[in-house]
């Protein structure tokens, strides 16, 4: 009797372990499926023309996604201009003032900002920019993406600055270097790769965002460099083409998905490499 429960318990232990391993690997099957479909359907669309030409009308063969590539580039530039300096400055403030009411409140707000659903950010950019300018525009899309980038940049800046050894700061201050020059010339450069990681991470996060662009950047079938006009973007193009009834457009959407996934993956890999080097430094 005693013996039986022991072997039963050992069996249970083994079954449980098997179950854990099985479920863990089952959870990454969808990832493999998704990547498989994206590569299988996407890679055939990719060629030079696809990347450099505008979309054609329905019924015409060929055509590309150059407008969306340019659009995504412009949106990312606008959002970086808005979010990077602000995010870094706020990150410096938080790492220099670890305690205090404003720091507490700011950290809380960064958390809240990170949790806001992207569609709500879209509404905000619409209310603030589109309503006041009276038109959908690249600028409003950039504002939406910029707001989404902020929390990631603030947090990684704060975290990496905290890792910079205090001795470095003391050494500089002991030389009579003023505080602000110490921060800008000594601390920031020492933490640069960490901060760059944060920026790359935030870019990776917003590049695929669609929801905040639906009623801000809006999308456009034309090449557009005017930031006060509607503009296309990769994820918007995927959404519009994927939900259209035309098979030609579907294959363009697969191709665009392939480009988007590759871009995001490469950003993630670079981020990882930078972080690795960063960890070795200190």
């Amino acid at each position: 009797m005693q013996k039986d429960t022991v072997s039963w318990r050992i069996l249970k232990d083994k079954i449980f372990k098997g179950f854990v391993i099985l479920l863990s690997f089952v959870s990454i099957l969808p990832l493999l499926f998704i990547l498989f479909y994206i590569v299988k359907n996407g890679i055939t669309s990719i060629n030079w023309e696809f990347l450099t030409h505008l979309p054609k009308h329905i019924g015409e063969a060929g055509g590309g996604i150059s407008n969306a590539l340019v659009g995504t580039g412009i949106l990312l530039i606008i959002s970086c201009i808005l979010a990077v300096p602000l995010g870094i400055l706020a990150g410096i403030y938080l790492s220099e003032h670890r305690k205090g009411r404003l720091s507490y409140l700011t950290r809380l707000c960064v958390e809240v900002l990170q949790g806001i659903p992207s569609i709500v950010i879209g509404i905000i950019a619409y209310l603030w920019v589109v309503l006041s300018m009276g038109t959908f525009s690249a600028l409003s899309g950039g504002v939406a993406l910029g707001i989404m980038m902020l929390p990631v940049i603030v947090r990684t800046t704060e975290e990496t600055l905290k890792l910079v050894p205090f001795e470095l700061k003391e050494a500089s201050l002991a030389l009579g270097v003023p505080y602000h020059r110490t921060i800008l010339k000594v601390i920031l450069p020492a933490a640069m790769s960490g901060i760059v990681t944060g920026i790359l991470l935030s870019v990776a996060r917003v590049t695929g965002e669609t929801a905040p662009l639906l009623f801000t950047a809006f999308g456009s079938p034309f090449m557009n460099f005017n930031i006060f006009k509607p503009i296309s973007a990769l994820p918007l193009l995927i959404f519009n083409y994927a939900t259209s009834p035309y098979p030609e457009w579907h294959s363009i959407a697969w191709g665009a998905s392939f480009v988007l996934v590759i871009f995001v993956l490469i950003l993630n890999i670079i981020t990882k490499l930078v972080t690795k080097r960063w960890k070795v430094q200190f």
């Binding site: 429960t5 022991v6 318990r9 050992i10």
Partner: protein
């Protein structure tokens, strides 16, 4: 009367490629306290962790040699059975923070999924706590978390937890190193009480403690069993020069 409960033969233990124990041979008698002493890093803790097969839980750990419990090689048995027959008390008191005092005492039964009725449970809890000399102090709040107890009380709770499984041997891994002198003397008294029922193996780096409570003493140095004998003999006329040097405080 003087019967052997545990016999260790040519036991070597490794951590990755490093050999921590070198061919240790040792016999443990029933109802006696055997102290294992030696400078830190000599393999004391590894030795007792090999006895209840805890050593192998560490990645990269290996063991060779044999350990017989009542004539049966524990390395041919399932570790979970071995560990139920050989209880262990750790250096730092570690009552389960998610359980109350009562549940901590019968944790062995709960964890092992052994179903016993309430009366039997009450009896085991009371008996074990009494044996661990803790009953009078905690009987009124058995259903509170054990975390408010003092360090010494927590350690006695851990002893009660080990006793509840009715083990044949209890391994004590420097049980007083994290405690104040008063709690230490409590535990030492307790050890002398407990040997009426079980064999005790006590790892300590405190020479005075080994002399106070043990019947037999083993001196371990650099993974090697240098000397083993009755405590009387070891502490009065050690045979090996290294034992003598250790006892007179020549190595830290």
């Amino acid at each position: 009367m003087e019967s052997t409960v545990l016999k260790i033969e040519d036991l070597s233990a490794y951590f990755s490629e490093e050999r921590i124990l070198k061919d240790v041979n040792l016999s443990i008698l029933r109802k006696r306290v055997t102290a294992i002493m030696g400078p830190s890093g000599c393999g004391k803790t590894t030795l007792i962790r090999c006895i209840n097969r805890m050593h192998e839980l560490v990645p990269g750990a290996k063991v060779s040699g044999r350990v017989f419990l009542d004539g049966k090689d524990i390395y041919t048995m399932n570790p979970i059975i071995v560990r139920r027959k050989i209880g262990m008390v750790f250096q730092k008191p570690n009552p389960f923070p998610t359980m109350n005092i009562y549940d901590n005492v019968i944790a062995g039964y709960k964890l092992n999924g052994i179903k016993i009725n309430r009366n039997e449970q009450d009896r085991i809890v009371e008996e074990s706590l009494k044996k661990a000399a803790l009953w009078d102090e905690v009987k009124d709040f058995l259903y509170r978390k054990g975390t408010f107890l003092s360090g010494g009380q927590q350690q006695r709770l851990c002893i009660a937890r080990a006793l509840a499984m009715q083990p044949e041997i209890i391994l004590l891994d420097e049980p007083t190193s994290a405690l104040d002198p008063k709690s230490t003397s409590h535990i030492e008294e307790l050890i002398s009480q407990l040997k009426k029922d079980v064999a005790i193996i006590l790892v300590t780096h405190n020479i005075a403690q080994a002399a106070r409570v043990s019947d037999f003493t083993a001196f371990l140095y650099l993974g090697e069993l240098v000397e083993f004998g009755t405590s009387e003999k070891i502490f009065s006329v050690p045979e090996d020069k290294r034992t003598e040097e250790y006892l007179t405080g020549k190595f830290g």
